[in-house]
């Protein structure tokens, strides 16, 4: 069942148009990976979906049109984003970062604390550092924290903007395993944009290729991997 879909999604910054009308779909329970080089428009896609930049096109989530909806209502609807880079709040403690992630929730501090404990169980390294400043965490830990924080709003669709950026391959692998696990155990749908094609392809249900604001190819991971020209251009083998 289609959870999220965008038809003819355009977005940009002022006069600069970055996305020139892309079609995108995420079904319930899928991990969809969007590959693209620098400047292809990956982060812009993420920002457009979250509503932090102006966007046009037909955007639906869970059957509702969310094109004219503000970023806070989009989070409440069930879309959470892990922003690019170290998307944590360095001056807040690890635990307060998680609490900040529950900003839109209205179900009381007890339920929020229960979720915090749940994610601490899944990310034991964060639990050890719960009262430390988030800025003092390692890169991998901060990325884990950013993911856990996004999960605090109880999303159904998680947007991950290049989680592997600046991380060692080992840490990236660990991170991707965690995302797969969340997908499997929690039924979380994931839209992940990456440059790091090799690792991301392994867990993808479907793959989109983005090139200068247009989607140039899409298909299952196997189909994309089997196409020789795509493989040479994007995967480098």
């Amino acid at each position: 069942m289609t959870l999220f879909s965008a038809r003819g999604l355009t977005a940009g910054y002022g006069p600069l148009k970055v996305l020139e009308g892309i079609d995108l779909e995420v079904n319930e329970g899928e991990i969809v990976v969007m590959l693209g080089a620098n400047g292809a428009g990956k982060t812009t896609t993420m920002r457009a979906i979250s509503g932090v930049i102006a966007r046009h096109g037909e955007i639906t989530f869970d059957g509702h049109n969310i094109q004219k909806v503000g970023p806070d209502a989009i989070v409440r609807a069930g879309i959470a984003q892990v922003p690019q880079g170290r998307g944590t709040f360095p001056e807040l403690s690890v635990e307060d970062n998680l609490r900040a992630g529950a900003y839109v929730r209205r179900d009381g501090s007890g339920a929020v604390q229960a979720d915090i404990d749940k994610w601490f169980e899944l990310f034991p390294r964060l639990a050890e550092r719960r009262s430390q400043r988030a800025g003092s965490l390692s890169g991998g830990e901060q990325q884990m924290l950013a993911i856990a924080r996004a999960l605090m709003s109880r999303p159904r669709l998680l947007l991950c903007d290049e989680p592997s950026m600046g991380l060692a391959p080992m840490i990236t692998q660990e991170l991707f395993q965690m995302i797969e696990r969340l997908n499997r155990d929690e039924g979380l749908s994931v839209l992940l944009v990456e440059q790091n094609a090799n690792l991301a392809m392994h867990m993808a249900s479907r793959v989109y290729l983005l090139e200068t604001g247009r989607i140039v190819a899409s298909g299952t991971a196997a189909e994309i991997g089997a196409d020789d020209t795509i493989r040479k251009a994007y995967l480098g083998f």
């Binding site: 920002r47 979250s50 932090v52 503000g70 970023p71 806070d72 989009i74 989070v75 409440r76 959470a80 984003q81 922003p83 998307g87 944590t88 709040f89 360095p90 001056e91 807040l92 307060d96 609490r99 900040a100 992630g101 900003y103 839109v104 404990d117 601490f120 639990a127 050890e128 550092r129 719960r130 009262s131 430390q132 003092s136 965490l137 390692s138 830990e141 950013a146 924080r149 996004a150 709003s153 947007l159």
Partner: protein, 382 residues
């Protein structure tokens, strides 16, 4: 026992330290009006006004990361709302405090509108314009019927009356009274009450869900937005509250001095800079920073106010300042600012934390191990 001494966070020692500090604070507050000289009470009253103004700026800049060089205008709104209310419409001065709060809140929200689209140096410029425009606006001939232009207004203070109560407590009166004698303690307590109110508002916000969203906006506004923080509404409320709280000490200033003029220092951009520097020297983004900053600032200014005459300068520092023919107070404070920025970028509060950290290490208590004292602090990886 070797340094640093390890303390468990949340344990008895830190609780005892808090109670001790609160007791000491109350003792100092009671000592000032009962045993202090008139000039000390005056100095402290002025310091409370600067505290409240710097704290309100701190909520906006220190916690939310939105710079304002227009807080002198909000202070001025407090001054003029009170002065106009008292002289034109015969209000009781203390009634004007909430009115000033409301007027400044509205203006603050309006000023936040450009702040939604711009940040950093551009926001500094827009708010600077507000600070520059305010004294000129007050002097504008078309509203002279209200503000009396550059001549200012007088008799804006409290009208003392022999019939006012004295509020004695078993023959002991640390509060002063409103019968026209011993009024300095009274203004002091009004100042302290304003600071207490502003402190409680700031503390309530900072320690709450909203406070986390403010720090989130400051540290990473995109991440805050995708977390569901409504940037426009949050910034608007904080701007409004900050402006409103800054108007309270302005209101006290009009009540206390009894005269207002549009060119007095705190109503011009110099006032904005003073609030900003006090906040930074004290420690931005910390609740107590502006309090300490204001005390240090006001005492340096008072101590050096007669130093324009070299004979008044103590011998040890006379060679340093005798060339100056004006009081060097703000110069000394500026020097302190530069040194602090170099040695302790987080101000006096940061310096204090640094000093404490070399003596005492507070060991964080891991979850579910309340009775166990961990042997070592977890070291951050980088």
């Amino acid at each position: 026992m070797s340094l640093p001494i390890h303390l468990r966070s949340g344990g008895l020692p830190s609780w005892a330290i808090r109670v001790g500090a609160a007791g000491a604070l109350v003792a100092v507050l009671l000592w000032i009006p009962t045993h202090g000289s008139d000039s000390l009470i005056d100095t402290c009253t002025t310091a409370t006004m600067l505290m409240a103004a710097a704290m309100s700026l701190n909520l906006l800049l220190g916690f939310t990361g939105q710079i304002s060089l227009g807080h002198s205008a909000f202070f001025g709104i407090g001054v003029y709302t009170t002065a106009i209310g008292v002289t034109r419409w015969g209000w009781s001065p203390f009634v004007t405090l909430p009115v000033a709060f409301a007027v400044a809140f509205v203006v603050g929200v309006l000023v936040s509108l450009p702040a939604l689209r711009i940040k950093g140096v551009y926001l500094a410029l827009v708010t600077l314009a507000l600070g520059l425009v305010f004294p000129a606006f007050v002097k504008w001939p078309k509203i002279e019927w209200l503000t009396n232009g550059s001549r200012g207004l007088d008799k804006t203070g409290f009208k003392f009356n022999k019939a006012n109560p004295t509020y004695e407590l078993f023959g002991w009166n640390p509060w002063g009274n409103l019968r026209g004698q011993n009024v300095k303690p009274f203004y002091f307590w009004v100042g302290v009450s304003i600071v207490a109110l502003v402190y409680l508002v700031c503390r309530g916000i900072v320690k709450s869900r909203m406070g986390r969203s403010l720090v989130a906006i400051r540290d990473n506004s995109t991440a805050a937005a995708v977390m569901g923080v409504n940037l426009a509404v949050t910034k608007g409320i904080v701007f409004g509250l900050s402006a409103a709280m800054c108007a309270l000490p302005g209101s006290l200033s009009a009540i206390r001095t009894g005269t207002v003029t549009p060119d007095s220092a705190l109503l011009t951009v110099a006032g904005s800079i003073t609030f900003l520097v006090i906040m930074v020297v004290g420690g931005s983004g910390s609740l107590w920073g502006p309090v300490l900053g204001a005390v240090v600032y006001q005492f340096i200014i008072e101590r050096t106010s007669d130093w324009s005459d070299p004979n008044n300068i103590p011998g040890a520092v006379r060679p340093l300042f005798s060339w100056s023919d004006v009081a060097p107070g703000s110069g000394i404070f500026a020097l302190a600012l530069i040194l602090l920025m170099f040695f302790a970028p987080f101000g006096i509060v940061g310096l204090w934390h640094k000093a404490v950290a070399t003596v005492v290490a507070v060991v964080p208590r891991p979850a579910g191990t309340a009775s166990v004292v961990p042997q070592e602090t977890a070291q951050p990886e980088s």
